[in-house]
Symmetry: C2
Subunit: 256 residues, 2 copies
């Protein structure tokens, strides 16, 4: 069975998609067989990999509702060892449709077990909410990576998120672990970033990765070229940080 | 009846809360009686105004579910003419609880009509989703302001959002208008911002406000002081931009 990692945070725009896509790319480059599941109706992970969302027979929506086997939705990317289950706009309706289903929290876990077992890692990009869609990702996952933007408002929701992860662990998924918290969009020009880093490290201790992702315009340019920043500009500070982060993620995987 | 403006965009971290809080503050300073409704379970608007979320008898959650009259949830802020309905973490559960209610899309509209009619303006801060909670805001609203971050990924979801606004207009709220699109976090140091601005103005034309909100660290520092940036640092570029934006918003209100 693959190791399944959810990348989650209810706060919006903190780097969930960017982290999912670039950690997956670095893992694939390290020879791991990786599948990304795009669970966000916006489909930013799908677009970031240059995959078209329209005209697909199956997306993460049909997989979540059990209408299609996950193997029918999997698409190759231009990167060896890296496949993706694209999202679709229909996913916005999944919440209301899942509510009345028995075992609604286990829909994704069951779908993965039925048809996506030949991977080393599965990374799940979550939408900015704690809805049933995100709950499905947390129930299916072995570990969670939480991107945390170096902003005051981003700090606010983090204890709520950790509490919810623990509720899911107790009720549905005893094996779920917080693998780590990664600081993103760190801007060395302003004191706020340093303040947030100090706060987060004193609160979460070793759970915080040593690697901090800097604010780097090459990262935000990359999606318009349909490529992860690791392919768009390998030498930039953003790419180097994601390579270093992936090293830490893989090291923690061995220790867990 | 007050004019009701929803501030919405499914994309996360684009400046919805920052726009809500600062436009409301500038309106209050211009002598308008303003109520902000925080519909985001994260409660960033509530915190940005220095209001404590815990220990409240009533929040936007109880109001939405019809358990409390909105007048019981309204709290004064330190700014004259500016009141707020705080959010609470319980709001995360509102989606599932609203699903089976008759007229579930009209819950907020009915709550406002029952107890919040003595305002000039009501601004609603929406969460980063198109869930029933956001739909309630769009059904109750006369107009929508869409903050659009100057990033490629933020462009991607905008046509989806406009399509959804038109669906709500047709099915539930014929009076709903897109008041305008405001470009946020514009960074003159990188070309991406200029590219996004050119794209957005050619696509949306006059709907885009002339005022562009610059990326400005004073804006992200203000919430840690429990104040809108207009009070935290009146002279900074962020505050001046929000004052100018509010002028445009009020001018468009007269013309609608
Ligand atoms: N380190 C960085 N430096 C500069 N820009 C970044 C960085 N990380 C992400 N971005 C940009 O910031 C925006 C938000 O990032 P991203 O979309 O990955 O966040 P998210 O948490 O997935 O958002 P959402 O909550 O909408 O799903 C994107 O436009 C992205 O390109
Ligand atoms: N013009 C700006 N310049 C610098 N920082 C900004 C600006 N506007 C907002 N911010 C900061 O960026 C972050 C995101 O803004 P905000 O929380 O207002 O967005 P949002 O769309 O409400 O997010 P969410 O989708 O999570 O509700 C916050 O930390 C905020 O302080
Ligand atoms: Mg995302
Ligand atoms: Mg917000």
């Amino acid at each position: 069975m693959p190791r399944i990692i959810a990348v989650a945070n209810r706060k919006g725009g903190v780097g969930k998609t960017t982290t999912t896509v670039n950690v997956a790319t670095a893992m694939a480059a390290a020879g791991k067989k990786v599948l990304v599941i795009d669970l966000d109706p916006q489909g930013n992970a799908t677009t970031s990999m240059g995959i078209d969302k329209k005209g697909r027979m199956a997306s993460s929506y049909e997989v979540l509702l059990g209408e299609r086997n996950i193997s029918e939705a999997i698409v190759w990317t231009e990167i060896p060892n890296f496949s993706i289950v694209p999202s679709s706009a229909d996913l916005a309706g999944a919440e209301v449709e899942l509510v009345d289903q028995p075992h609604r929290e286990f829909a994704l876990k069951q779908a993965i077990e039925k048809g996506a077992v030949n991977y080393d890692y599965i990374l799940i990009d979550c939408p900015p909410s704690l809805s049933l869609v995100t709950i499905n990702a947390l129930v299916a996952a072995n570990a969670v990576i939480v991107p945390l933007q170096c902003e005051f408002l981003a700090l606010e929701g983090i204890t709520d998120l950790i509490r919810n992860i623990n509720i899911i662990k107790k009720k549905f998924n005893p094996g779920l672990e917080l693998q780590g918290v990664v600081l993103t969009m760190y801007d060395k020009r302003n004191n706020l970033s340093q303040m947030v880093e100090d706060d987060v490290r004193s609160f979460f201790g070793k759970k915080v990765y040593q690697t901090v992702i800097p604010r780097n315009v090459r990262i935000s340019e990359a999606p318009s070229h349909g490529k992860p920043v690791l392919l768009y500009d390998f030498k930039c500070s953003g790419s180097q940080a994601y390579i270093s982060l992936t090293g830490e993620v893989l090291k923690r995987e061995k220790e867990l």
